[in-house]
């Protein structure tokens, strides 16, 4: 799990990242034999194609397509299904799994893909602490029993197994870089086992992936995918509407809403069917966090130690209005954390425990707690009168929604007599401030992995930072032994139903403590054109995104529409020609004018 | 045919503050080989005349009367003809040699430019270069100076370059507008000597404009003294300087003391008051407020230039004062 801005493979964060859209421009989908190209617009470039070093959302999409995993995730519900491994067996103690690879697996460069590749990837990533592998492989040991059999042993009981969604890398390519500093490897080799492999990267502009002829499920129906970078979301939306791109990821919310209204678009060109918008949930959410001050670091406001104050804060916030006005209703309102894109982990909070907008009750709680406005300045004071209920409120400069949230939240808090002092930080600064504990409340968010364990682990007592130089993950500085006990239990519970139950209990507990006021669950704003391709898949079904989902099954599933036009390059080049001619004429005319004028003027002054 | 003839020339500048009459009815004739000095205080209109001859006045300046260069009215010329006449019929040695030369062009280039502008088409470049060298040597500078930029030359050298430049197209008339004002005495003497020599050798007509009456007396045969846009006295220079008729000329001449003359020893003389503001001239004779012999009629009567007919007066003298001329007969 990670902060929203550093999305990881499975989840994609929205937050304040400059994300892009996808754009699909094809050249000649209609003519047989021509390359079928899907163009996707997005607002974020790759950081690096090197899977051991990158961490941006865009890069995960690349790896999802380029590297197959032992087990796949079902498109509709994330169920673990066979991937490179066609089957697996578990040992009795549940610590060891033996996977059997499919027959005849080949890398895109025609080298055979063997169990040795798998074992090498798992063991090396564990030893070298690769960024995107080590969370899964930290406790694993893999042994290649033969070309098609690999045995993986976990040092601790792990409910996540047998799911093995780690990118398997081609040993013959990576062995050499891994012998040195693997993170400096450029990884432009484009050798993989997934449906598409990297063909070319033009940093700052786009990257192109081409269909892998050796993909184990067979070669994809589209020949290549171009990921096109737009720094400006509006420009990306315009490109989608103009047909320059086929799909867009992370559209600006306003334009997304606007587009949603116009389905099908009234100004379609011939043969176009329209633009479909998709608000894809990933389990990510935005929260207002309050400093619980466990661990003794920092200088949080003492009033926040009082659960009544935290409840009052939660009750003062009209989350429904916030969701409608700031998130524009894109996403879902949920009472507590999302710990997985899979909604089965979300608990139902009993009605009597819900903390819905009720300023009267908030006032009552505060009044009863002795937090009264004794000096009549509209702001309550502590019961002992020592200081006022003025909270430092931190937000991220990267977030486009921060302003709306701030205006509303601070406004509502003021209405129950709680003052705020707003500061704006970039992510790096805010992280440092949170680590130092010198804050009262902040707004940020998380996006979870499919398995809830990681996000749940962040709120354990041992994740409270006590050393500024080595920040841990419990950013609310909240500690509950009860929660910790439940965590330990689910962590090794191999019975899925039971594990879900425990997680529900943990989340309800967390909700009731009101350390986080979960404002809303975000959704990816995506849109695609329906005139050239069909087969768009949402993951998970009905609520998830079509692109940048956990395993991004859409691309392989897409088929070009017969008779679909979309080769608009003719259009634009005609326009360009006209334009150039017009420009040329204008330049000539201007030059002529200048010459004539200067002729006629020559003698004026004499 | 006269080389230059000014006929009833009036020049009025148009400024934001209203019209400023700078020249008010000047008649002047230069025959071939004549050297005429034009003297007067600042603001009397003498430099305006220099600019007027080649039609170099600012746009919008009102000119009436005629300027005849070899019989042809400069103000009736078509632009092409005007350009052809400039520098070939008359050339000017401007005042302030530092500013009259383009600082970013080699001086040789600037001379050559004038030659090329008026050369028949197709004349070879090396002819021009040779001619530039020749001209520079003519004014006492080594030919290599052509390669120098103005700032690399001294004031006197620059003035020589300007003279060479003026000679480039062998004009019949040379107008020297305060050519020595900024120079040191000795250099001034050098330049004056050079001008005299050139005038003699080339049979040039010379219109010499300066405020320094004593310089003119030595350099020019004829002298015209201007006051407030008008010539107030005219005649052979020695007689004008030594026995002026007009009270203004008399005062002006007296302010150049003759060294060795006991009359001026410990007795500086000059003229009270300041030169008149051309935009607000006094009524009558504009000089009357500074004049020590003014009479009541001077405040209303502005006498035109007329011949001095007093007995013993040198021929060709004229003055514009009620006290001279007819009155003395």
């Amino acid at each position: 799990m990670k902060r929203q801005s550093w999305g990881i493979a499975l989840a994609v964060a929205a937050g304040g990242l400059i994300v892009g859209t996808t754009q699909v421009t094809t050249t000649g989908a209609s003519s047989p034999g021509a390359t079928v190209t899907l163009t996707v617009g997005l607002q974020q470039d790759l950081d690096t194609p090197n899977v051991t070093a990158g961490y941006l959302v865009a890069s995960y999409e690349l790896w999802n397509l380029q590297y197959a995993t032992l087990t796949d995730k079902a498109a509709n519900d994330f169920a673990t299904i066979p991937g490179l491994a066609e089957s697996w067996t578990a040992s009795n103690d549940g610590l060891t799994y033996t996977y059997t690879l499919r027959d005849g697996l080949k890398w895109s460069d025609d080298q055979p893909l063997t169990a040795e590749d798998v074992a090498w990837t798992i063991n090396t990533s564990r030893d070298q602490v690769w960024l995107n592998h080590s969370a899964v492989t930290a406790n694993l040991t893999a042994v290649a029993l033969d070309d098609r059999t690999v045995e993986i042993t976990s040092a601790v009981p792990d409910p996540k197994l047998p799911t093995m969604d780690v990118y398997i890398l081609p040993k013959h390519i990576w062995e050499e870089p891994a012998a040195g500093d693997v993170t400096t490897y450029e990884a432009l080799d484009g050798v993989g086992s997934g449906p598409f492999t990297l063909k070319e990267w033009k940093p700052g502009q786009e990257w192109t992936m081409e269909a892998n002829p050796n993909y184990w499920q067979g070669v994809a129906a589209i020949d290549q995918v171009v990921f096109r970078l737009y720094t400006d979301g509006g420009a990306m939306a315009a490109a989608l509407e103009n047909g320059e791109i086929d799909a867009a990821h992370n559209l600006p919310a306003e334009l997304f809403v606007e587009m949603s209204k116009h389905v099908p678009s009234p100004d379609l060109r011939d043969g176009e069917q329209g633009i479909v918008t998709v608000a894809g949930e990933q389990g990510g959410f935005t929260e207002l966090a309050m400093n619980g001050m466990a661990g003794g670091l920092g200088d949080g406001h003492p009033a926040l130690l009082d659960i009544d104050v935290r409840h009052a804060v939660a009750l003062a916030i009209n989350r429904d209005e916030l969701f409608e006005r700031v998130a524009l209703g894109i996403g879902t309102q949920r009472d507590t954390l999302g710990v997985s894109p899979n909604t089965e982990w979300n608990p139902e909070i009993p009605a009597d425990q819900q903390l819905n907008y009720d300023p009267a009750k908030a006032n009552e709680l505060l009044d009863n707690g002795g937090y009264l406005d004794t000096d009549g300045d509209g702001v309550r004071e502590m019961p002992d009168g020592s200081r006022s209920l003025t909270f430092r409120y931190a937000e991220r400069s990267e977030s486009t929604q921060a302003e709306g949230i701030r205006e509303l939240v601070t406004g509502w808090l003021a209405e129950v007599g709680i003052a705020t002092e707003v500061s704006v930080y970039d992510d790096t600064q805010l992280t440092d401030i949170i680590a130092s504990g010198e804050y009262d409340m902040f707004v940020w968010g998380w996006t979870p992995f499919v398995d809830p364990d990681t996000l749940l682990s962040y709120f354990k007592c041992d994740q409270v930072t006590t050393d500024v130089a080595n920040p841990l993950y419990n950013d609310a500085n909240w500690c509950s032994p009860e929660y910790d006990a439940l965590y330990a239990e689910q962590n090794q519970e191999l019975d899925h139903a039971r594990r879900v139950e425990i997680v529900h209990e943990m989340l309800t507990l967390f909700h009731n403590e009101s350390t986080y006021v979960v404002l809303y669950h975000d959704a990816e704003t995506q849109a695609y054109r329906t005139d050239r391709f069909e087969g768009w898949l949402r993951q998970p079904a009905d609520i998830g995104p079509v692109l940048f989902s956990n395993s991004s099954p859409t691309y392989y599933n897409l088929k070009p529409l017969a008779g679909g036009t979309g080769d608009d390059s003719g259009d634009s080049s005609t326009a360009m020609t006209i334009l150039l001619i017009a420009g040329g004429v204008a330049v000539l005319a201007a030059a002529g004018f200048v010459v004539i004028r200067s002729r006629s003027r020559r003698d004026e002054r004499d | 045919m006269s080389v230059l003839e000014l006929r009833d020339l009036h020049i009025t500048y148009r400024t934001e503050g209203g019209d400023v009459p700078a020249v008010r009815g000047v008649n002047l004739t230069l025959e071939r080989g004549d050297t005429v000095g034009l003297a007067g205080e600042s603001g009397c209109g003498k430099s305006t005349i220099a600019a007027a001859v080649l039609r170099l006045l600012p746009k919008g300046t009102n000119v009436s009367g005629q300027v005849l260069l070899e019989g042809e009215d400069v103000y009736a010329m078509k632009p092409g003809r005007l350009r052809a006449v400039r520098w070939t019929s008359a050339a000017i040695v401007f005042q302030g040699a530092l500013h009259s030369l383009n600082p970013v062009r080699r001086v040789g280039h600037q001379i050559a430019e004038a030659i090329r502008l008026h050369a028949p088409h197709g004349s070879a470049a090396h002819h021009t270069d040779a001619r530039v060298g020749e001209l520079l040597e003519r004014v006492g500078l080594p030919a290599e100076r052509a390669q120098h930029y103005p700032h690399q030359l001294s004031g006197g050298q620059r003035q020589r370059v300007l003279i060479a430049l003026a000679l480039a197209c062998e004009p019949k008339l040379l107008i020297a507008d305060e050519p020595t004002t900024a120079l040191d005495v000795m250099v001034q003497a050098q330049v004056l000597a050079l001008l005299e020599e050139l005038q003699r050798d080339h049979g040039l007509s010379l219109l010499f404009i300066t405020h320094d009456l004593s310089v003119l007396t030595h350099t020019c045969e004829k002298l015209a003294v201007m006051y407030a846009g008008r010539i107030v006295e005219q005649g052979p220079s020695q007689t004008v300087f030594n026995s002026p008729e007009h009270p203004y000329t008399r005062a002006l001449a007296a302010s150049f003391p003759t060294i060795g003359d006991p009359a001026s020893r410990m007795n500086p003389r000059g003229l009270a008051g300041d030169p008149p503001d051309p935009s607000a001239l006094p009524s009558g004779c504009p000089f009357h407020i500074r004049c020590d012999v003014a009479t009541p009629e001077c405040t209303t009567l502005d006498v035109a230039l007329r011949d001095v007919v007093s007995p013993g007066a040198a021929p060709g003298r004229s003055a514009a004062c009620v006290h001279v001329g007819v009155a003395r007969v």
Binding site: S59, V226, R228, T231, D232, T428, N470, R602 | -
Partner: protein, 321 residues
């Protein structure tokens, strides 16, 4: 002493560069930040790995040690690593350099049309041409370049669809030769026009006042007296003198255009230095920003040096003695 003049100017430029290096280093250490900590939260990285990363970003040791290390790196042409995926800053800059050179070059060229206009306007001070040109220049000068970009993008790309909404070339284009050239031209026209428009006014105004400065010079009067045509006087005598202030201001303006490119490139998704800066600012990717700043400064310092030397060439008085 021409050589002496050039050497003097070079020393000046080098000292400025040295200042920029020092300024650049300490500027980014004003705030105590540990990007590594915040960047890799949630990764369960071992402390050894974090320490290794810190070393990589030159964040360990005292400030002085860091500075020495920084200098050593610089001498090897190493600008450090971007926080984005450990890519060497120098590599990233290398990739973004060409599009910016293209864009800034084109728009500078466009903006320099203002010089010609300015000369003419100044020459005919007060004429209708002058009034029109000056008014328009003041107008474009007063508009923030990115705002012009927003308006143009909204009008010509989003609404009218005449131009692509951004990028260097068509998506997935592998065109070569003329097609590629035309494609890039088509993409560049809008941002280059915006950037050019934003600065054309400044060039025009500077050129105009430089021309007006020369208007009353006596050598123009002399040139006219020589029998030169009016436009020749302008071209051969007025312009060479009016060029001097324009040259030195062009160099300074070059820095401004670079600045303007940051916002404009980001609006038009132009994959150049400007967009990289924008992304680095929003990141924030401090090592990247540091490298970019150094590069841009070096570019502008170089431009100034060229202008200085050119100035010496154009005006013999400057380098003459």
């Amino acid at each position: 002493m021409r050589a002496g003049f050039v050497i003097r100017k070079c020393i000046g430029a080098i000292s400025t560069l040295a200042f920029v290096v020092v300024f650049n280093f300490f500027l980014f250490r004003i705030v105590n930040r540990d990007p590594v900590n915040s960047m890799f939260r949630g990764r369960n990285l071992k402390p050894e790995k974090l320490a290794e990363l810190r070393r990589k970003f030159n964040l360990d040791g005292s400030k002085w040690d860091q500075f020495v290390a920084y200098l050593r790196q610089l001498l090897h042409g190493d600008l450090g690593y971007s926080l984005k995926g450990f890519r060497p800053v120098a590599t990233v800059i290398g990739e973004t350099l060409w599009p910016t050179v293209l864009l800034v070059g084109t728009s500078t060229f466009l903006a320099m049309i203002g010089i010609t206009i300015g000369y003419r306007a100044g020459w005919r001070r007060g004429s209708k041409f002058d009034t029109t040109a000056t008014s328009l220049s003041m107008l474009t000068y007063s508009m923030p370049e990115f705002w012009i970009g927003m308006v143009f993008l909204g009008l010509f790309s989003a609404k009218l669809g005449w131009f692509p909404v951004g990028g260097l070339e068509d998506p997935g284009s592998h065109a070569t030769g003329l097609t590629k050239w035309l494609d890039q031209l088509h993409h560049m026209l809008l941002p280059a026009t915006v950037l050019g428009l934003a600065y054309v006014g400044e060039y025009m105004i500077v050129a105009r006042s430089a021309m007006i400065e020369t208007l009353n010079e006596d050598y123009l009067q002399l040139a006219r007296a020589k029998g030169m045509r009016d436009d020749e006087v302008r071209r051969r005598h007025a312009v060479p003198n009016a060029r001097l202030p324009v040259v030195s201001l062009s160099a300074i303006n070059f820095g401004f255009i670079f600045g303007g490119a940051i916002a404009v490139e980001s609006i038009f998704s132009w994959p150049g230095i400007g967009q990289a800066t924008y992304l680095a600012v929003r990141g924030p990717d401090l090592p990247m920003l540091q490298g970019l700043f150094l590069l841009i400064s070096a570019g502008v310092i170089l431009a100034n040096l060229v202008a200085d030397v050119l100035y010496g060439k154009l005006d013999p008085r400057v380098a003459g003695r």
